[in-house]
Symmetry: C2
Subunit: 420 residues, 2 copies
């Protein structure tokens, strides 16, 4: 059999056909020697593996120990008021496991039991209320998948390509399936007075991380959530209850949710005045940039996910998302934005949730300048960095949704670069 | 404020409105004393929590340590050829975290590195091939969410209500988002000869767990998968590569996939002759019951998830699925099947994937006989246990998709029962 064996996908299958039609191709198959991993009986095929009581709650296999959240020590003054990053370069599909989903805390991740949990609704309501965890579990629930992106995701890129690795440049994002009570039902239970126009959400941690949002959003698709990806929220994601605010910046997704106040105006808290505002080119500060505009990033190849297999068939994959609704299209360029090819959107495309895209190319081994460009259902097109800087200048930290460029070198290594 | 505070959802909000309209209700709110958990500053609000480098890969909070896979020692002779159960009574939404998704092994969960991984395609093909893990990563990928249910799920119920707990009676199921290469592309690469009509899939573990399936299915929606819920497959779920066979019984989802053979007929292996066949009422054995028929189960309340909060608003929730496509409708009965109410399908309804349903009722504190009944897009209706026994008898182990009954007692405790 050795003479006729071949390995790897053919160029023809990948280029000519893709997923749409498939192809039976003669292609680039390499003849090879008999492979002992196929021809010889291996240890794992002649002994027992782990029994079913080995791991009541399993964790990743040891070979994947590099796929973890990482932080950058010099980014913040203290690790309790800091951020870490999702290893998006090593993930696939759209769901982010809770275990490696980025964290941003303002005073650390607190431990709060269900028994000690309370949610107060106060302010301009007919009946101020206090709910226990058990109370919340008696309200009608719903299920929603949504991305949560820190407003500062890609923030270092305003000043140029500063951090290596897709994880560090764009990894302040995760995407989970949440179950919870629509905030609307709790507000209706308390009875919002006619003069109530804003809500203010506070967490139970020391920072309280209070944020205001218009009542209209609170009555729309905001969830008081207790489950993520099917199970209880993890401690670091707000156990037992967090706010889920689809499409809005992550800072508003208040964890360990303690209070919803109803007011006639915004509270103008620290977290929405000195922070999470956009310093514009003219020196003015823009408030209330809540919705995360359409964005995308190629997760592989990328600086932490170089090409190791040489030229030939190459899978380019990445993530796209929009706080305004569904992703409509993602284009990929391999020449720094001169020419674009439309990528496949793989799996379900959900509004305000991560969308996975793939493009299969035949890499000739030459240098590439990889970019992706998302378009959402409103017709909005993800801008270049220059387009964004024209309006926002260079002193901003937040809401950088510009096109990211990866330089693929001939040896397959990838660097974060900026092109003029 | 204490006089005007009230707790819990009102009956009116829950009964009159549900998610569709909501309601501002006077309802059953209980006045309460000032609650120190709201009025006093708590420890967790006056100290720092965990920093962002505390858990590079996080695990569930200690309060959730009961939400784990569990096995039943007397069910099988050895824990390396056995099964454990997903804690579906404690989960919500549709995604099953890998960490608590049930395992079924025939010779234990083996440790197989990507470097040692090989996939052979042999038999009636133009070019026998051997793929490394890296080779597979160069083929076009796609993303699919699918349930995987062991054919024996609910098998003990054939003989009556024997196991307590939703986890043990119906927990041989999980639902994940997979990313992988369509098997069709690999078969096209090898070139299936005209006389090839079946494939035979084998695992790299000692059991090999070989299963045949028609070429038609292999060319349809079967994936050679490497990611589940966004990250690498866990060891116990087939790392680095498993077969995903949407809608088909779990035994065919071969883990640690080692070989795909193409043949002109089924292999008739041990796993598809002495096992995974249906012993019918007349003593004959039915082969090739691959597709899992429509089924549902109420996950809460259930024997491990009793009602602790007394009468009043109660959330009834559960899971429904069909190997034939999408769930169309789920009905819930509280009186053992005499009367039925249509439940809400929450979140996305995907073909061959778990669907979450909810029904909000006002429990009067009397005994209930809870049942759910799924209908799929083909018009198929989940049968009662008696209907199924009429055809299949009592000696079967596999493919019990009958309606499950939970007896809710006046004290809120729940038991697995069978009604005449």
């Amino acid at each position: 059999m050795a003479e006729t064996e071949k390995k790897g996908p053919s160029r023809r299958a990948v280029l000519g056909a893709g997923l749409a039609t498939g192809a039976l191709a003669a292609g680039m198959g390499r003849a090879q020697e008999a492979d002992p991993l196929i021809t010889e009986v291996q240890d794992w095929a002649s002994s027992f593996g782990d029994p079913v009581d080995a791991a009541p709650y399993g964790t990743p296999i040891r070979f994947e120990s590099h796929v973890v959240r990482r932080n950058v020590e010099w980014l913040t003054e203290s690790p309790v008021s800091s951020i870490n990053f999702t290893p998006i370069h090593a993930l696939e599909g759209t769901i982010t496991p809770q275990g490696c989903a980025f964290e941003r805390h303002h005073s650390g991740a607190i431990e709060l039991s269900k028994g000690d949990y309370r949610l107060m609704i106060s302010g301009l309501v007919e009946t101020p209320m206090v709910f226990t965890y058990e109370d919340l579990m008696r309200f009608p629930r719903t299920v929603t998948t949504a991305f949560c992106e820190c407003a500062a995701n890609g923030g270092m890129e305003w000043g140029g390509a500063q951090l290596e690795g897709c994880q560090f440049t764009q990894g302040m994002i995760h995407n989970m399936e949440y179950t919870g009570v629509p905030l609307r039902l709790l507000l209706e239970e308390a009875g919002v007075k006619p003069e109530g126009k804003w809500i203010y959400a506070e967490g139970a941690d020391a920072s309280s991380n209070g944020r205001s949002m218009p009542l209209e959003k609170a009555l729309d698709d905001v969830l008081v959530a207790f489950f993520a990806n099917g199970e209880a929220l993890r401690k670091e994601h707000g156990y037992p209850v967090r706010l889920v605010v689809p499409g809005f910046e992550g800072n508003m997704w208040v964890k360990w949710l303690r209070r919803i106040g109803v007011y006639d105006q915004a509270v103008e808290s620290r977290e929405e005045t000195s922070k999470y505002t956009d310093l514009m080119a003219d020196g003015s500060a823009r408030k209330w940039t809540w919705v995360m505009d359409a964005k995308s990033v190629i997760t592989s190849p990328s600086p932490q996910a170089p090409i190791r297999h040489g030229k030939g068939p190459l899978v380019i994959t990445g993530l796209a998302w929009s706080g305004h609704g569904k992703i409509d299209r993602v284009d990929v360029s391999i020449d720094g934005g001169k020419n674009w090819q439309t990528a496949r959107l793989s799996g379900d495309v959900k509004p305000k949730a991560l969308t996975r895209f793939h493009l299969d190319i035949d890499w000739d081994g030459s240098e590439l300048l990889l970019q992706s460009r998302a378009m959402d259902e409103t017709g909005y097109v993800q801008p270049t960095k220059d387009q964004l800087r024209e309006i926002r200048g260079l002193n901003n930290v937040y809401h950088n949704n510009s096109i990211q460029t990866w330089w693929v070198r001939a040896d397959g290594e990838v660097e974060n670069v900026e092109i003029a």
